[in-house]
Symmetry: C2
Subunit: 164 residues, 2 copies
């Protein structure tokens, strides 16, 4: 995927070895396709995240599990986070899709927020949660743009060091 507007039904159908009309059979409108992709991506992301975090008890371990989930997504596909990409072109997306992408980010922030200690000062807790998601999303984008996996690793390393 290279962006919502950069992908066409025909490109997609060609990759699958079918015709574009067949894609419309499953996803009448383009937005339906986008929504399905975001839903699937979100499910898989949180499944992987909860898997990694299952045995993480301490806060630094949970942050590391979070980073690892992003890192695996980046390395396995050499592609940007689907929602990261869609989020960047947010203003050009159909309404429901825009909201679905935003919901993914909301869930991300909420997940890491609840992993932070409950006795943390409220403002700092919110700030840290936003910071962590922002860093990882930004790191994926930079890494893809620069063609440098090291950039992601560096940013994640800095982030983990910040909250050791």
């Amino acid at each position: 995927m290279r962006g919502y507007h950069a992908v066409s039904f025909r490109d997609l159908a060609d990759d699958l070895g079918i015709k574009s009309a067949s894609v419309h059979y499953h996803f009448p409108q383009k937005e339906d396709l986008g929504l399905a992709l975001v839903a699937r991506y979100s499910e898989r992301f949180f499944a992987a995240l909860n898997g990694h975090a299952a045995k993480a008890k301490s806060r630094p371990e949970k942050i590391k599990a979070f980073c690892k989930t992003y890192e695996e997504a980046l390395k396995s596909s050499d592609k940007n986070c689907l929602c990261g990409m869609l989020g960047a072109e947010s203003r050009g997306l159909p309404d429901q899709l825009k909201q679905a992408v935003a919901a993914f980010f909301d869930a991300n922030i909420k997940w890491i927020w609840q992993a932070l200690p409950a006795d943390m000062e409220a403002g700092q807790r919110k700030a840290t949660a936003a910071q962590i998601v922002a860093t990882l999303q930004g790191a994926m984008m930079l890494s893809i743009s620069l063609g440098s996996p090291k950039t992601f690793e560096n940013a994640a390393k800095g982030l983990i060091a910040s909250h050791a």
Copy 2:
């Protein structure tokens, strides 16, 4: 701007009150237009950044100047960083444009890298530089997607607290 592929010569011309053919007069190919926009954005960004950093002597002050430059860009236009948006769809961009966007990020990382103390451990210095740019880029994206300026402020606050 809502993405490279989401903007057409006609949209742009309509906004300007001229015809699309006249846009082609100034920018024969779409990529020429993209390159010009990135060049202008990059110039303005670093001019603003150097302006903010002029009186910043300490490292935390330089990091704050960096954050402030991003924050102003976000607040003044309520739009994503041009390069942040293009970087996210990097894989779908023409070659030269992709490289111009990557060069902007390279320059960003280099700028903040040289603002970090020279006696910092080399790996940590690189990591911190990547982390800072990633966080701010990600924070802009999140902020736009969620429609919440607070999200950027929170992430920046967390970042500054990490490197006080």
